[in-house]
Amino acid sequence: MFGYYLDLALRSLKRNKVLTALMVLAIALGIGTSMTTLTVMHVLSGDPIPGKSAQLFRVRMNVYPDDSFRQGDKVPDNLTRRDAEALLLAGQADRQAAMSAGAMVVVSAKGEPLRVATRYTGADFFPMFDAPMRYGAAWRREDDAGRARVAVISDALNEQLFGGADSVGQTLRVGDQSLRIVGVLGDWSMNPRFYDLSNGQFGDSEQVFVPLSTALDLKLSTSGSTSCWGNAPDPRAADAPCIWLQYWAELGTPAKAAAYRQYLQNYIALQQQGGRFTHDGQAGLLDVMQWLDAKGVVPADVRLQTWLALGFLGICLLNTVGLLLAKFLRRSGEIGVRRALGASRRAIFVQCLVEAGVVGIAGGAFGLALAALGLVLVRHQPTDYGAYVHMDLRMLLATFVLALASSLLAGLLPAWRAMHVAPAVALKSN
């Protein structure tokens, strides 16, 4: 039966080519536009580290002194060096790392200074964020404690400085200091760069990674948000009243996360008893997706475009409803004949929907091409996320589901009207 309806649909569509083309075009434009913006949305709000995002937690706490604490304020994102070092020492999570972004100038073999983006962190950073090594290995936890003069460099910097050769054991000149390269990262970038959203939310990974303890020892320059209360001549000092370090913990199971939450509460309580503050303090964990959500990583203009594109799809649907209605009712005579020969109302209804579905599939295929074109345009826009936008298999399937669903939805009313055509009247007026 379905084959017969399909045949009828194709015949009918062929009979009025202009109207068919208009319907396909309307659906294709609606699908193309909305899939372009939905793909951008999907990439921006996607999971940067699938499979692990529920086990990685941003650790935040509020240890402001009483005169800076305000009830109901948000928990600050960063920790003081004192608290970060205390949590690291306690080591209550499976893995943990405090970190900060920075920049430094390294000197190439030819003696040319080169400015690079850096990350100062701990040995756990690499296994925690699944960073693969091309050559060598990450530094060890002992290196963190020993302020070892070591570094891990990115694949790109290795290419630039050493022509892509295995540079493990080579030294990286940083002013009058030198760092020994222990590892070269493989292909690794997190987009959005969730572990530190304060230095550009999208982009390549940092070029040089150095133990935080070493960076502090060498007074390497840090960047990122720092906020201090009270007198802070050196905001990086061990006891400086400044929050500036990002802290991540890996907690493999919900039970461990619960235990860690409890540990943080106890830590805050101890600080309170120690006389740092008299308020209750705040401490919390956010997993990767909660963290991205809290930081509003999806830009407002992308969310706006998504809403508008959906409205636009609605307009295209209304358009298709009108055209399908015209098409089906024009065939009242033919429908009258079929009804008179014994076709049930249901059969007419299904036949009309099959026709609408064929239009939808055609519109979806064409719309997919338009969406691909739209994404090329998005990639050429000077936005920091543009380069990372691409369509994956899920969005491809979603395109066809959306096209089919919307064309069937658009076909409902016209099909309903068509099945109520009175056979006698339709035959007579012919």
Partner: protein, 406 residues
């Protein structure tokens, strides 16, 4: 008048196509809602990208000169300013950063207790000559003089409790002191106290479209014998910025062999960079507007051709009874005008509803009424253009059709 007489038969003809007419009116109303709001957003972005910051943008360049750790560097801050000022084509120079570079608002408090902020303003700090290099216009009070300026180290180490002398924008002064007496007032941010010595007309550190863009305090400190990495500003003679900036960057590099000049930009480049993602989003919206208009035109024209086909016999009869081709053309044009008008009326409500939603979710301003008027005109025009083809085909139907069966 002929058209007016036609309205009654048109309305009664439309009554027998209620569903199709309703759909078309809904489509036009939705198009109008989306179109009005989109044009409003895009126009707002374009206007913003031309908003002046209040500094002498066409003459200002910025050089970021960063110290390499452990490299000896003979240059000092004061000498660097002198070197820059002596470069050919340079009028003035200072240590600091221009609008669009790394600016954040600070909470401003009326008293030292800092319990309730009264404003969130941009606090711009720079060395001696900062205000003259930026070319700020003082409308009340005075500019900094040499005796005012505290030493950089005293400011950074916070060794002084004396309020720092500061210039305030008119907008912030009016917000904080509606009585007009802003001069000599003391106010506080999270870290320092400031004394207002003069009022400047404008200083926008960012152009976000928010009300506090033009709320700013500018303070200067004296830099001397420190080796100072960071941003340096120059102001060139009018029309000489590219050459002057190049010469200044070269001179500064020569005086600071231990520094790397990471970024050298004119204000025009900084502005372009600041707005590029907004303008990119604007271009996406323009593309959506264009496609939207095409789709709506397709819908109008598709339904009109269907009606023309359906009514061939009636058209033939009217022609046989004496109607001219012009009458038939007018009939379809008038019909389209009535449908679009209905859609436009409904569209006004839809547009305001969408605007309310966007205001709520995206800090959009209230949609001014003239955008709706423009939208209505655009849709009337679009409808007439879209119906023209089918209407011409209708007018070409020969009277003989009436005598044949369809």
């Amino acid at each position: 008048m002929r058209i007016l007489r036609q309205i009654r038969p048109i309305l009664s003809a439309l009554r027998s196509h209620k569903t199709a007419v309703t759909l078309l009116m809904l489509e036009i109303a939705l198009t109008m809602a989306v179109l009005g709001n989109l044009v409003f957003i895009v126009y707002g972005t374009m206007q913003r990208s031309h908003m002046a910051t209040g500094v002498a943008e066409s003459q200002i360049g910025w050089i970021q000169s960063i110290g390499v750790l452990g490299q000896d560097n003979p240059g000092t801050g004061a000498e660097n300013i002198a070197v820059l000022r002596n470069a050919p084509g340079v009028l003035d120079a200072a240590y600091g950063s221009p609008p669009f570079v790394g600016k954040e608002t600070n909470p401003i408090f009326p008293d030292a207790a800092r319990s309730r902020p009264v404003a969130h303003a941009y606090v711009v700090q720079g060395s001696q000559h900062m205000s003259t290099t930026l070319g700020l216009r003082i409308v009340q009070g005075r500019d900094f003089n040499d005796g005012d300026l505290p030493d950089l180290m005293d400011v950074f180490m916070k060794k002084t409790d004396t309020p720092l002398p500061a210039l305030m924008t008119q907008a912030l002064a009016q917000r904080l002191y509606p009585d007009g007496k802003a001069l000599e007032r003391i106010l506080y941010d999270g870290r320092y106290a400031y004394r207002v010595i003069g009022i400047i007309d404008h200083l926008r550190s960012e152009v976000t479209g928010r009300a506090n863009d033009d709320d700013a305090l500018l303070t200067e400190y004296r830099i001397g014998a420190q080796d100072l990495g960071g941003g340096y500003l120059i102001r060139s003679r009018p029309g000489q910025l590219p050459q002057a900036l190049k010469a200044a960057a070269a001179a500064l590099q020569k005086a600071n062999p231990g520094h790397v000049e990471n970024k050298v930009h004119t204000m025009a480049e900084l502005r372009e960079n600041y707005f590029k993602s907004d303008l990119a989003a604007g271009r996406m919206l323009v593309a959506i507007i264009a496609i939207l208009l095409v789709v709506t035109a397709l819908g109008v024209s598709g339904l009109a051709s269907f009606w023309v086909q359906q009514r061939r016999r009636q058209i033939g009869m009217r022609r046989a009874l004496g109607a001219t081709r012009g009458d038939i053309l007018n009939y379809f044009q008038a019909e389209n005008f009535l449908i679009v008008s209905g859609g436009v009326l409904l569209g006004v409500f839809f547009a305001y509803a969408l605007n309310l939603f966007l205001m709520h979710r995206f800090e959009l301003a209230h949609l001014p009424a003239h955008y709706l008027l423009a939208g209505a005109l655009a849709l009337w025009l679009l409808g007439q253009l879209a119906v023209l083809g089918p209407a011409l085909r209708a007018a070409a139907v020969p009277p003989a059709v009436a005598t044949r069966s369809v």
